[in-house]
Structures are given as C-alpha cells and as structure tokens.
C-alpha cells in the first residue's frame, strides 16, 4: 500500500486514496482529503456530514444509505454534492475514513 505523508502524519492509502483503516483517521486526514478532493474551505456543514458518517459507521458497521444521510444531516443530496463535489461516497466517506464503497458502483 502506498504511504502518504501530510502535515507530519503518515497514512496508508489504496489506489483510490481511501485510508487503510478506519481507526487511523485523524484531523490531518480530513485536511489531506480536502486538498485531494478540491474542496477550498471546510465549514461546519462538512464537519456535520463527517461526524454523522463516523457516528453511523461506529454504531452500525456500515455507511448510511444516501437517504439516511440526507435525513439525519438535513442536507439534500444536491447540497451534499455542493459540499463534496465527488459525492457522498467518493468524497464524504473518504474524508470520514470509512472503507471504500463496494458493489457495482
């Protein structure tokens, strides 16, 4: 696995830039993905999405369905795309340190 270094921290990532382990997530990882994903400024709404994702994953062992994410955060899908241009899977889940989405994607 390739290793990336960002702000003094090292992360193991796969070829799509997802972190190898949920528990290796840190604030620096968010900053690193922010740069990768071309997000200029992180605001409270980004943080809220990430918090909801991490909380849901810790509790349930899976990432929430898009409709659940929308309902819990109160952000419509369109707004989630405005926050994370790559979308809830490639953008938000990556930033939250969740495993890479699988299935026929």
């Amino acid at each position: 696995m390739p290793e990336v270094e960002f702000q003094g921290k090292k992360f193991n990532v796969d070829e799509d830039g997802f972190i190898d382990d949920y528990t290796n997530w840190s604030e620096e990882w968010v900053q690193f993905v922010k740069q990768e994903e071309g997000i200029s400024e992180l605001n409270d709404e980004h943080k809220k999405v990430i918090d909801v994702l991490r909380e849901y994953y810790e509790k349930n062992g899976i990432a929430p369905m898009v409709r659940v994410l929308s309902k819990v955060t109160g952000f419509k899908l369109k707004h989630i795309y405005e926050l994370f241009p790559s979308g809830p899977g490639k953008g938000a889940c990556k930033m939250a340190g969740l495993p890479k989405p699988t299935g026929c994607v």
Binding site: D20, D21, Y22, G38, Y57, N60, G61, I62, A63, P85, P99, K100, T102, G103, C104
Partner: protein, 382 residues
C-alpha cells in the same frame, strides 16, 4: 507522452464545469433517408442474410447491411468503420442492440459494392473484420460482458469464449437456416450482466469453491453487515477471530455447507475472494426469450451444470453449444424458439435430443419456488 492539459484546472475543479447535458439527440445522426421517412415505413424484407430493405410510403427505400462486431474494439477499428461509412453511406452508421454494425444506403445498386468491400476486409490473422449477416432465423452476435479483460468478479472470460463460440457458429451468422432466431449470450459471473437469463443459449461463468477469508483486513476493508446481507443462503455470520499475532479482530465466518459460490459477498467485500483456476468454469443455460411472439417471455434454464475453463478456445463449451444448436435445428418446427421446442417435446426429450447428461445439479433447490419446478404430474415420457 508528457502531460497535456485539456484546459481543466485542478485548482478550481468546479470552474467551467459542464454537467447534466445527457447524450446527443439521436436525430442529429439520422441518415437523410431515415430523417425523411421517419414514422412512414410500410414494410421490410430480408433480401439475403445480413441485408435488409425498408420501404416507405413515400416510395423511398433504405437498404441496411448488418455486419458482425467484436464489441471490444480499438479506435483504429472504429476509424475503419467510419471510413467505410464515409465511402458508402454519406458518413452515417449505427450499432444494434446486439453490438452489430449497420451500414445504410438509399439505393439497391450501392448494396453490392458495400457488401463486397465489407467481406474483403480481413484482420492480419485472417478473421473477417466485417462479416455480413446476423439477420432473420440465424444466430446473430453474442451479448457478452467484461471477463478477464476488466472485471474483478468473473469466473470465466468473455471475449475469448465468445470468439471461440462465434467461430463454431459462424455459418449460422451468415445463414438463416434455423427454425427461428437463436440468441446466444454470455456473462462471466452470475451477476448476469446482459441477457443470459433470457437467451436461447446462455454461457455463464460459475465458481465451485467458497470464498477465502482475509481476516486481517476484512474489518478494515469491508462493511461487515453488507457482506452478511449479500448472501442469498445466509451462509455468512459475523465472528471474532484471533490473528496469529494475538490481536482479536472482527470478521465473518462462512458456513461452507450452505455456500453455493455465488460470489455476492466478494462483490461487497474485497477480503472474500473466491476465483479459482480449476474450480471456476462455465454453466450452459437454454430456452429463454424476451419477445412476446406466440408464447410469453421465458427465463433460460440450466442444462449443463459445469464445463471447465479451457482457454483459449473452450472446446468443450463450443462443442456442447454446437450440439444443442444442431439438435434444435433438426427437431424444432418453423417459428419455434429453442425454449418453446424444449417445452413442447418435454425437457426429458430435450436432454435426449441434445445428448446432454442430466445431473442432480439441475434440480432447483432454491427456496419455496423450487417446488414449482418439480414434476407434479404423471405426464412424462420414458
């Protein structure tokens, strides 16, 4: 080659971004004869295998020459298609829903030069580049999938078996001697992308071994509840595993007695791979159709439980398919699709006619509906 920018600015990814414009409207690409006669067609005829004529109420005629396509094709091949279209058809060409290529011309005297040109083009290895055919009661192109070219869950290859099968069935692509058309499809795993579940003959990649579990990475790579829910037979349950280094990790356990090797869990969880060189192979199904003509659409049924993968030519697979096609050509009435034929004569006679072995694998045992596939009558033939 060094990096050449298209004008996209990675610093500002959302700037000048064009989105949600959809495909080009198909009318932009209509040949003039199609544009002029849209919705006015009176009748059509198949003049010879691969050549159709459509006649409009205005008297206009449109001649279509259908040629086989390999589906997986290079840009240079597409350029050659364009070159032919430029030379004969005013730059217009279309692809069919079975990935054949259709060249259209507006008068009869343009057909022969076009067909001769197409049939004269060959690959360096000797294959026809553009074999004319695929119409009427014959065998047209094989709908197929990615296989070892690009997918990560296949149990067999796609392009390879398709080439081997079409070579064996090539005469029927160029001819219309069968009772009705016969559709062949291939899917390289039982996700069944494409049309295998509803084709006259279907080639399907199949595993025969349960997944291997990569406990060390499973919880890191996978959302465990998804892997559990992916299993149609509930063979997967969550478990805690002690690794060699002493750490306890969350993982799953597979009940191998319940596993039927569908591979759905691997689709959801990269730490459960199951591909195997000798375990994997091909299942042949038969008797499906999608049209409503005479009888309702049908699913195809499994008729050969397993044939090993034998790259690069899959001889056993192609022999079996040829056997089924010949038995069908000999036995069926005119207009009768393969599934209709098998149901008319009875499946026990189908196995006899095709000289296929009937094994216990072919008896449905999946949940309640399996019962309806058993025979609850004394009507059968010895």
């Amino acid at each position: 080659m060094a990096f050449v920018s298209s004008g996209y600015n990675p610093e500002k990814p959302m700037e000048n971004r064009i989105t949600d414009i959809g495909p080009r409207h198909f009318e932009e690409f209509y040949p003039p004869a199609v544009k002029a006669n849209k919705g006015k067609w009176l009748y059509h005829e198949i003049l010879e295998p691969g050549v159709l004529v459509h006649v409009s109420e205005t008297g206009d005629e449109l001649y279509t020459v259908r040629t086989g396509g390999c589906r997986l094709m290079s840009v240079s091949h597409i350029r050659e298609i364009c070159e032919i279209a430029d030379k004969h058809c005013g730059g217009y060409v279309r692809f069919t829903t079975r990935n054949n290529i259709e060249f259209m011309v507006d008068s009869k005297d343009k057909v022969k030069p076009l067909v001769d040109d197409l049939m004269s083009r060959k690959q360096d290895g000797g294959c026809y580049k553009f074999p004319v055919g695929g119409t009427g009661a014959g065998i047209t192109n094989i709908i197929h999938t990615q296989g070892w070219i690009h997918c990560h869950t296949p149990a067999t290859d796609a392009s390879g078996p398709v080439k081997a099968t079409m070579d064996v069935l090539f005469d029927d692509f160029r001819d219309m001697r069968l009772p009705a058309h016969l559709r062949v499809s291939l899917a390289c795993c039982l996700n069944m992308c494409g049309a295998v579940h509803c084709s006259d003959i279907a080639i399907l990649g199949y595993h025969r071994k349960p997944p291997m579990l990569d406990h060390e990475y499973l919880d890191k790579m996978c959302e465990i509840p998804l892997a559990i829910a992916a299993c149609p037979t509930a063979a997967i349950k969550p478990s805690k595993i002690k690794l060699d280094n002493g750490t306890e990790v969350k993982s799953v356990a597979v009940n191998e007695e319940r596993c039927m090797f569908c591979g759905n869990c691997y689709t959801m969880c990269p730490s459960m791979p199951l591909a195997d060189d000798v375990g994997d192979g091909i299942v042949i199904m038969a008797g499906g159709k999608v049209s409503n003509r005479i009888t309702a659409p049908k699913f195809s049924k499994v008729v050969v439980a397993f044939i090993p993968n034998e790259p690069p030519r899959w001889p056993k697979v192609t022999d079996t398919i040829k056997q089924i096609v010949e038995a069908y050509a000999k036995g069926a009435n005119k207009y009768e699709r393969l599934g209709e034929w098998a149901e008319r004569i009875g499946w026990e006679r189908f196995f006899e006619a095709c000289e296929l072995d009937f094994t216990h694998h072919l008896i449905d045992d999946f949940r309640d509906p399996a019962y309806y596939t058993w025979r609850q009558t004394s009507n059968f033939k010895f």
